[in-house]
C-alpha cells in the first residue's frame, strides 16, 4: 500500500488526478496483498478494483506461482517485477517485462529489504508516468530526513538500472 500511495502521490504532484487504495483489509507485511492506483486527466469517480491493469508491480516474484499477477493485462502493458533469479513466467503477449533485484537495491541503499521506493523508481523509469522530481518530493515529504535520502538513493538506483537496461 505504501508503494501505491507514493506512486499516486507523485502522479498528483505531476498534476494529474490519482487514486490509490488497498485490496481492503489485510494490509500487513509478509502476507500477499494487493493495492491499486488509477491516474486520469479528470476527476476519478470509479471505485471498483482494477481488473485490467496497464501496469503491474510485483514486489515478490515468488508469489507468481500462486497468484495470476498478469491477469487482465493487455498488449502494451508493462510488468515491473522484483526478482533475484527471474523465472519461467507466462507473460501475456505484448506485455513488456521489466525485472530488477529491488531487494538487493533496498538492502544496499536502506539496509532493510523494503522495496517500495526502489520499485517506484523502476516504475517511473519503465512507464514514464511519474517524474523523478515528483518522486523525490514525495519521498522527502513521506520520510524523515536521513531515511528520505536513503530512499531517494534506492529510487534513483532502480531508475538508472531500468533506464540503462531499456
Amino acid at each position: 500500500m505504501t508503494a501505491a500511495e507514493l506512486i499516486a502521490t507523485a502522479a498528483f504532484e505531476n498534476g494529474v488526478f490519482a487514486q490509490a487504495f488497498p485490496a481492503f483489509g489485510v494490509e500487513r507485511r509478509g502476507a500477499p496483498v494487493q493495492a491499486f492506483v488509477r491516474f486520469a486527466d479528470r476527476k476519478i469517480r470509479l471505485r471498483s478494483q482494477i481488473y485490467e491493469p496497464d501496469y503491474i508491480i510485483v514486489q515478490d516474484s515468488t508469489l507468481i506461482k500462486d497468484v495470476n499477477v498478469f491477469g487482465g493485462m493487455k498488449k502494451g502493458g508493462i510488468a515491473v517485477i522484483n526478482t533475484e533469479k527471474g523465472g519461467a513466467w507466462n507473460v501475456p503477449e505484448g506485455v513488456r517485462l521489466v525485472t530488477l533485484n529491488a531487494t538487493r537495491i533496498a538492502l544496499e541503499a536502506l539496509g532493510v529489504p523494503i522495496t517500495n521506493t526502489a520499485l517506484m523508481g523502476a516504475f517511473a523509469a519503465a512507464s514514464g508516468e511519474i517524474s523523478m522530481d515528483a518522486m523525490e518530493k514525495v519521498i522527502r515529504h513521506r520520510f524523515g530526513k536521513d531515511l528520505a535520502e536513503k530512499n531517494i538513493d534506492a529510487a534513483r538506483r532502480a531508475y538508472a538500472q531500468v533506464k540503462g537496461g531499456a
Binding site: 502521490t9 498528483f12 504532484e13 490519482a18 487504495f21 481492503f24 483489509g25 476519478i44 469517480r45 470509479l46
Partner: protein
C-alpha cells in the same frame, strides 16, 4: 488547498476544523485511522478538545451525551458492530435532542464477521431520529461534516447527525481533497450555542420519563424537526456552495436524468462507479441516469418523486437488506413513487464488500429493462436453488 490524502485523514482534519470540544470514540476497523488522527491532534495540542477514552462504543456515545448536554460541541465515530453496540444510546441522543455529529465508516454487520463495506450498519439506525448523510467521495465526506454540525445545532432542529462514508472504499483511499482553512470553516460554522444545558446553578433534566399522556408528542416533535431539517440542510448546502463553490443544496442529485428511461438510485461511493457506467451506456445509445440520495434521513420522498417523474423504470441499488423483506432504500423509493406507474426494481448489491464493476451496473440495467428485479445481484451460483 488541494491535498492528496487518505479519506480518513481528510475527515479527521475536517473534524478538527469544526472545533469539537469533546471527542469520545472506541477504535474499530475501518474507522480507526480517524480517531487515531484526532487523538494525535489532541495529544499534540493542534486540537483543543477533551478526548475521553472508554472501554466500548456504548460508553463512548454515553460520554458524548453528557458532554453535549453540558453544552459542548461533541464528536464521535464508529462503524458496524460499534454502531450496533450504540443502538440504545443512539435513540437517547435523538430523544434528548443533542446535536452530536458522528462519522459512520460504513461496514457490514456480523455474523459472519466482515470488516468490508456495505451500509447495513447505519441503515439499521434509520429509525433512531438521527439525520443521515451519505458521501460519494472524500471531498463530500469532509464537507458534509461542516454542514452536519451547522444543521444539527440549529435551534429549529437540535438533532444528531451521522455522516456516512463507505469503509475502505473511501476511508482508506488516497485521492485529492480540497481542504479548508480554519478561518473559512469559522465563517461557515459559528461556535456552538446550546439551546439549553446542564448547569448546577440552574438544574434541568434531559431525557427523563414520559407517561403515555406525553410520550407520543416527544416522538412527534422529533419527526417534525426532521421534516424541518430538509429545508435547513438545503439552505446550509446552498450557503456552503456560495462560500466554497460546492453546492450541497440538493438532498438528491440527478446525473443524466433529463431524458433517462432507466434511472438508478444509489447512495455513497457506488454513485461514482454508476456515473462512469452511465457514460459508457450512453455512448452505446442507452438512455440511463442516476439519482443519488445524499440525505437519507430525513427521507426526501417528494424530491425523489419529482426527480424521477419522467423515467420509465427505476433500479435501486441497496447495499443493505431488511432481511425477510427488501432493500431499505428500495422500499422507500417505491413509497415515494406510489401511484406514479413507474416500475421500481430493487437490487441487493455489494454486501460485505462484494465489488461492483461498471459491467455489473450495465447488467443490472438490462435486468430492469426485462422487468426482473427485487433480487440479490451477483450471488455465487451454488446458493441458487
Amino acid at each position: 488547498m488541494m491535498q492528496f490524502m487518505e479519506g480518513s485523514l481528510a475527515v479527521a482534519d475536517a473534524v478538527r476544523l469544526c472545533r469539537p470540544q469533546v471527542i469520545s470514540a472506541y477504535p474499530i476497523t475501518p474507522q480507526t485511522h480517524i480517531v487515531e488522527a484526532l487523538a494525535d491532534m489532541v495529544a499534540n495540542c493542534t486540537l483543543d478538545a477533551e478526548y475521553i477514552t472508554v472501554e466500548s462504543e456504548f460508553s463512548a456515545l454515553s460520554a458524548c451525551i453528557g458532554a453535549s448536554a453540558a453544552g459542548s460541541r461533541v464528536y464521535s465515530a464508529t462503524t458496524s458492530q460499534g454502531l450496533a453496540l450504540m443502538f440504545e444510546v443512539c435513540f437517547n441522543v435523538a430523544g434528548m435532542r443533542l446535536p452530536i455529529v458522528m462519522t459512520i465508516v460504513n461496514r457490514a454487520l456480523s455474523a459472519p464477521l466482515s470488516i468490508w463495506n456495505d451500509q447495513q450498519d447505519s441503515i439499521s439506525l434509520r429509525d433512531s431520529g438521527w439525520m443521515q448523510l451519505y458521501a460519494e467521495d472524500n471531498q463530500e465526506a469532509t464537507d458534509l461534516h461542516y454542514l452536519a454540525y451547522r444543521v444539527a445545532e440549529d435551534h429549529e432542529i437540535l438533532l444528531p447527525a451521522m455522516v456516512c462514508f463507505d469503509g475502505f472504499i473511501l476511508s482508506h483511499t488516497y485521492e485529492p481533497v480540497e481542504t479548508l482553512s480554519q478561518d473559512q470553516v469559522d465563517a461557515y460554522l459559528p461556535a456552538f450555542r446550546p439551546y439549553q444545558r446542564l448547569d448546577a446553578a440552574d438544574p434541568i433534566s434531559f431525557g427523563m420519563f414520559a407517561s403515555p399522556d406525553y410520550y407520543m408528542e416527544f416522538r412527534y416533535e422529533i419527526d417534525r424537526a426532521l421534516e424541518r431539517a430538509k429545508e435547513r440542510i438545503a439552505r446550509a448546502g446552498k450557503e456552503f456552495g456560495k462560500q466554497f463553490g460546492r453546492d450541497y443544496s440538493a438532498l438528491v442529485e440527478g446525473y443524466q436524468l433529463e431524458d433517462a428511461e432507466t434511472a438508478f438510485v444509489a447512495m455513497g461511493s457506488l454513485c461514482g462507479t454508476v456515473k462512469d457506467a452511465i457514460d459508457e451506456m450512453r455512448a452505446q445509445g442507452k438512455k440511463v441516469g442516476l439519482l443519488k440520495i445524499r440525505c437519507y434521513r430525513p427521507f426526501p420522498g417528494p424530491d425523489i418523486a419529482k426527480a424521477l417523474a419522467g423515467v420509465k423504470r427505476v433500479a435501486v441499488l441497496d447495499k443493505n437488506i431488511s432481511l425477510g423483506s427488501k432493500g431499505a432504500v428500495g422500499l422507500e423509493v417505491k413509497d415515494a413513487l406510489y401511484g406514479s406507474g413507474i416500475a421500481v426494481y430493487d437490487y441487493i448489491v455489494g454486501l460485505g464488500g462484494r465489488d461492483l464493476k461498471k459491467s455489473d451496473i450495465a447488467a443490472i440495467a438490462a435486468l430492469a429493462e426485462k422487468g426482473q428485479g427485487d433480487q440479490f445481484y451477483g450471488l455465487r451460483q451454488e446458493v441458487l436453488r
